[in-house]
């Protein structure tokens, strides 16, 4: 496009003013991101002024093959996938359900939408602490409900596999609002006339959904699926607030953090294995990449089939 604000030296002004933003982006985000793979081949440990040595593939070898540690890593990988599937399936399904309910002409839809979106704003610390209280095992609300049903559980303090399920539930509770809002935006692009015409022609509600709503919702279906899959594969903050670094509950994202910066949130020693953590983070990156690209491939094909 033609530049209107002078020639010669003045032509450089846009470039000059762009430099600060570019500089910090490269310094803080892009550069470190690219350097993660480099660090994964070193024994960097996070102490200032200690030399960093090149150790080739040792971190990866250790991660993938070293006895019990490797078995724990595979378990964590498995849990990451289970977490991803559990969160994606329910967050997607319930998000769609809520969005469809709120897309009707009901009184109070605005109220419902504000309520369901609220946790997104509160952030992970408040989400986690609110649920720690709600899941208070000595007579808290959930405990009382379970008691009325004739059963008991230590909830977040129970067996790792059960505590893990509670984290999945809180994760869905926390992020359902985003899925809902994206679906609502998609639903509102579907013309009312289309749905009403189909109804007049005698289509059942299920036919309206499967033949009109669902296909026309394809763009938001794709966005939500990809966001949910990628987001849940990388997410670990709620584990940190709800149950901490507990054996049998770790996911890969949490392992990166724990290996790199220590296992507790309060420790101020940083003598940890950052090279190894970088390798873990590269492995997680490839997991996200493979699953994300596969999902994208199938979603694209489906979109072409439906929307042409």
């Amino acid at each position: 496009m033609i530049y209107h604000f002078g020639r010669g030296r003045a032509r450089w002004i846009p470039y000059l003013l762009l430099i600060p933003g570019l500089f910090f982006y490269i310094l803080i985000a892009l550069g470190p991101s690219l350097a993660t793979s480099v660090y994964s081949f070193t024994d960097a440990n996070g102490i200032a002024n200690v030399p960093v040595n090149w150790i080739g593939l040792d971190n990866y070898k250790e991660f993938l093959t070293l006895g019990q540690a490797a078995r724990d890593n595979y378990d964590a990988l498995g849990r990451t996938l289970i977490f991803c599937i559990g969160v994606t399936v329910f967050q997607f399904g319930l998000g769609l359900l809520v969005a469809m309910l709120l897309n009707q002409r009901l009184a109070g839809t605005n109220f419902f939408r504000i309520v369901f979106f609220l946790p997104v704003i509160l952030g992970v610390v408040i989400q986690g602490l609110i649920w720690t209280l709600f899941l208070y095992p000595l007579g808290g609300p959930v405990d009382k409900v379970l008691g009325a049903l004739g059963t008991h559980s230590e909830l977040l303090g129970s067996q790792p596999s059960e505590a893990f399920v509670w984290v999945i539930i809180v994760q869905i509770w926390a992020n359902l609002g985003i899925t809902m809002v994206i679906f609502l935006a998609g639903l509102q692009t579907i013309p009312d006339e289309l749905v009403e015409a189909a109804r007049i022609d005698g289509a059942s509600p299920w036919q309206v959904f499967s033949k009109i709503t669902w296909p026309l919702l394809t763009p938001s279906v794709n966005t939500n699926l990809l966001l949910n899959i990628i987001g849940s594969l990388q997410s670990y903050q709620l584990f940190l607030v709800l149950i901490g670094y507990r054996n049998g509950t770790q996911v890969l994202g949490y392992m990166v953090y724990a290996q790199g910066f220590g296992q507790t949130s309060g420790g101020n020693s940083n003598a940890f294995r950052q090279g190894y953590a970088a390798a873990t983070s590269i492995i997680l990156f490839f997991v996200v990449l493979i699953i994300g690209l596969t999902a994208q491939y199938f979603l694209r094909r489906r979109e072409e089939r439906i929307l042409g």
Partner: protein
């Protein structure tokens, strides 16, 4: 986005009611409300539990955690406020959030404007460059090594620096600037207005809605951040509210009434902020995610 949201508040037209058989509508409406109310219980239940607990004494909480508070026990709030060093943490959070958001927005507009207008060579590649970090591995480890080398570890300035990059904000701005007519550039230039002056005096006010959206999103992210302060700030006097609350939980975790009051003190400003700006926030988050 705005029109989509406004649709909900549009009054229901009478003809719409008549068009669908009354019986079908009633049954469907009732089922819808039952499901929605079940969700409301799951969404507001934990919050009500928090409020109720914050009003109780420790002994009544121990006796029966879910019993309704019979008195309004303000002491918990006073205790939480004093013991948790909230004034300090809140001040830190406000400083980090305002400083990083302001600097980021100014830099981001000067990045987004020439890219959107193609006033720089290879504008398309610049945009890709700003996008690519979203798809690469997390920057966590090398970023830490960098800050350590720069001597910015456990340093508030270094901490603010961590929030000066946000690709999604740049994308939202680039898209919005496209709606500002290019004729304005020509006219302003003819009148002798310089580039810097044009961007600051004319573009900034014109793209205020997009700036508001990006600023709100960015600010919420900084305010709620837990991992970065845990990694980078070891000195308690630098803690933002999130880290402070986790530390408070470590010390007073067994005293739920006081802890609940502390959580509420942190949550209430967010809820008020959200109720006023919910449209911006929801549309911003969808825009960000749809385009990012």
């Amino acid at each position: 986005m705005n029109t989509a949201i406004e649709r909900d508040i549009r009054p229901v037209s009478n003809s719409a009611w008549k068009r669908i058989s009354a019986k079908y509508l009633t049954k469907k409406t009732i089922v819808s409300y039952i499901i929605l109310l079940a969700f409301v219980i799951i969404y507001l239940g934990p919050l009500l539990m928090l409020i109720n607990t914050s009003l109780k004494t420790q002994s009544s909480f121990m006796r029966d955690a879910t019993a309704l508070a019979t008195t309004i026990n303000v002491k918990n709030f006073v205790d939480a406020w004093n013991k948790a060093s909230f004034p300090k943490y809140l001040t830190n959070s406000v400083i980090y959030t305002v400083a990083a958001t302001t600097i980021y927005i100014v830099m981001a507009v000067f990045v987004a404007f020439p890219i959107s207008r193609k006033y720089i060579k290879g504008a398309k590649y610049f945009l890709t460059l700003f996008l690519i970090a979203l798809f690469l591995p997390p920057a966590l480890i090398p970023q830490f090594q960098l800050m350590l080398k720069l001597g910015l570890y456990n340093n508030p300035v270094g901490y603010v620096m961590l929030f000066l990059a946000n690709p999604i904000g740049v994308i939202i701005l680039v898209n919005y600037i496209k709606t500002v007519p290019i004729e304005l550039d020509e006219a302003a230039a003819l009148d002798g207005c310089g580039y810097f002056q044009f961007v600051t005096r004319i573009v900034f006010p014109l793209i205020r809605p997009a700036i508001a959206t990006v600023a709100i999103l960015h600010a919420i992210g900084i305010w709620n951040e837990l991992i970065l302060p845990t990694i980078y700030l070891t000195n308690q006097k630098y803690y933002p509210i999130t880290r402070g609350l986790i530390v408070f939980q470590g010390v007073y975790g067994s005293n739920w009434p006081t802890l609940a009051a502390a959580v509420l003190i942190m949550a209430i400003p967010m809820v008020v902020f959200y109720l006023f700006l919910q449209r911006y926030i929801m549309s911003g988050l969808t825009q960000g995610s749809l385009k990012g």
